[in-house]
Amino acid sequence: MTARSTAFAGKSPSFRAAVGLLAAALLALLPALGAWGSDAERGKALFKQCKRCHQAGSGAEHRIGPHLNDVFGRAAGSLGDFRYSPAMKAAGTGGLIWTGATLDAFLSDPRALVPRSRMSFAGIGEQGDREDLLAWLRGFSGAVSELPPAEPTATAEEYGLDPRLLSIEGDPEYGAYLAGECTTCHREGGSGEGIPSITGWPSDDFVIALQAYKRGKRVHPAMQLVAGRLSDEEIAALAAHFRDAGDQP
């Protein structure tokens, strides 16, 4: 168990290079490590913090983040129909393959492994937590005959929202103007630990997040202030804009 923590404690650039080289060797070792005591059921509970952005299971789709079926063994940033950050694509082109070891390193400190990744997540400090989470996630990779259905990233019911809010068709031109208020803090195509990227979000996730802030069901003073004065139509307009917003050069 300690093999991984000693081998991957560092976060230096050489560490990042080493990950690629060590990955293949460690891949063979990992199933055994998992078998020693990882708790996939506990990992399922830990996945709650991921599922605001990611889906895994039958019918899983790309949402704010890519779906995580068959992520083990996949090159980073390689699903053609998801708009990755340029950094994530470059990592994959540069040889980063998702394995138990590389996923563990990524979850430990996402930006140490892929600087300028768009994933707005600080990381999981506890090695045991990462192991359990990966043990659960591993169940969605490989020759699995029957996956449980994917859980939605966010639902209107979760916040007691009227589902009709999701079917308002927004005006992208109005959204483009309103977006000016967002891009002072949310860098287009960028990433951060403090302020997430909102470029390319699916409309439903966007609307649900802003409506939840508007109604005080998600808590953040600046976001509640901004969302508080947006009408339902304006939220829909912003959702339409950011859904289609491309990365700025």
Partner: protein, 435 residues
């Protein structure tokens, strides 16, 4: 003197030629970008004076959103922009100097903006033309002035620009900021740092007090017996409760503030002797940061659009000058109502202005103006606070609609998250300004 008569107007044959040459260059560059829908001499012209949070944002938004249909020129004397926001973090050792510097390269290369590194020294409002210190002139259909602040001469007796190396203001970021940091580092053991704080209204209301926090942070490590003296003409200041709570927690016994009740409004400085005279009492200091009273950047007064207080009144819906509908004024230089003078505010106002300018020149859709502002301040390591508000345009002014402020007694986790937010905001607004 009638200011508009005193204007230089240098349109002659040579300038006409260079004007045509300039247009041809712009067309070629824009064609290379394969973006523009409407090209040629009929393109409406926008000149933006000042490449900070207001001007750079306005130039970028007008150029980007008009997709080449508007000819945008940005006049800015400096080749590299050093932001006032986050310059305190450089003084406190939390940022590298290079990290608050930005170039105008992407505005030219990605958005086809003609970036002219020169000073605008005159404005002929009848001929709609801006004269440059270098001798040329630029004509405009709409002019956007975002010149920031200049200091009111004589507001701190004993101090003028010739003394700014002895007693830096460090309130326009750049070499002054570096100088102040060096002077703080050079203070003798147990020495005194003095700040002469400005009267209202001034750029970045929490700025002087965030700076005090950063100076204290540096001195606590390098020179823990040093003292900090604030001479303040104001009874109250922005985020006062949050700063005073933080100073007590991080820098107990180090900071003394003299408000107007103890003569903080009656100050004179003697740069030669490094003395500060407060209500007649002489104090010897080792570093002295004089932040004088402020007014709109001088070009606004040259244009003849400022009021007696030295600021340029604007119409909230469009940021147009109340004196000239062909001129928009952004940011610190404008007198707009309830928004604080901040980079965030200027950036927010620039987007409303850009929409109004495009609407007027290209007929694009115009939506109701809305504004917002958040100011983050760092008090100590991972101890960030913020204040924010939203605003709307009324016929009278930009009016505050709602707001929030950090609270004393927040957990360390909340304060750290607030600080991390500010880092991401800095990256975002820099990208929003410079592309």
């Amino acid at each position: 003197m009638n200011r508009r008569e005193g204007v230089m107007n240098q349109r002659n044959g040579n300038n006409g030629l260079s004007r045509r040459r300039f247009l041809a260059t712009t067309v070629a560059a824009s064609a290379a970008l394969s973006a523009p829908a409407a090209l040629g001499q009929g393109r409406p012209r926008v000149v933006v004076v000042g490449g900070g949070a207001g001007g750079a944002t306005a130039a970028r938004y007008i150029a980007r959103d008009s997709k080449g249909a508007v000819d945008v020129t940005l006049v800015e004397p400096t080749r590299a922009y050093y932001s006032c926001f986050f310059s305190n973090l450089y003084i406190g050792g939390f940022r590298e100097y290079a990290s608050i510097g930005h170039s105008y390269g992407a505005l030219a290369a990605s958005h086809g903006i003609n970036v002219v590194h020169d000073w605008a020294v005159s404005i002929d409002r009848d001929k709609r033309s801006v004269g440059l210190a270098g001798g040329g002139s630029l004509s405009y259909d709409r002019l956007v002035l975002s010149p920031g602040i200049d200091f009111k001469p004589g507001s701190v007796p004993g101090w003028d620009l010739s003394q700014q190396n002895r007693m830096p203001h460090a309130y326009k970021a750049g070499s002054q900021t570096q100088l102040l940091r060096a002077q703080i580092e050079a203070m003798p053991e147990g020495g005194v740092y003095c700040m002469v704080a400005p009267p209202n209204p001034f750029r970045c209301p929490p700025g002087p007090y965030e700076r005090i926090s950063m100076v204290a942070h540096v001195l606590k490590q390098a020179n823990p017996t040093a003292k900090i003296l604030i001479v303040d003409p104001k009874a109250k200041f922005s985020k006062q409760g949050l700063f005073e709570d933080g100073w007590q927690r991080h820098y107990a016994g180090m900071i003394e503030r003299i408000g107007p009740d103890f003569g903080g409004d009656k100050v004179e400085v003697r740069p030669g002797a490094m003395e500060v005279v407060i209500d007649g009492e002489v104090t010897k200091v080792d570093a002295c940061n004089v932040i004088p009273a402020q007014q709109a950047g001088r070009i606004a007064a040259v244009a003849g659009i400022t009021n007696d207080a030295g600021w340029a009144p604007v119409v909230a819906h469009t940021m147009q000058s109340r004196a000239d509908e062909n001129i928009h004024v952004l940011g610190d230089a404008s007198q707009q109502g309830d928004m604080p003078k901040s980079g965030f505010s200027a950036n927010s106002q620039a987007k409303v202005c850009a929409m109004a300018v495009r609407g007027a020149l290209t007929g694009s859709k115009v939506f109701a103006a809305r504004f917002s502002n958040t100011c983050w301040s760092l008090i100590g390591t991972d101890d960030g606070v913020k204040v924010g508000a939203s605003y709307e345009a009324t016929d009278e002014k930009i009016a505050k609609t709602d707001g929030f402020i950090s609270k004393t007694g927040e957990t360390a986790e909340v304060r750290k998250a607030t600080y991390k937010e500010s880092l991401d905001w800095y990256a975002a607004i820099s990208g929003d300004m410079f592309g």
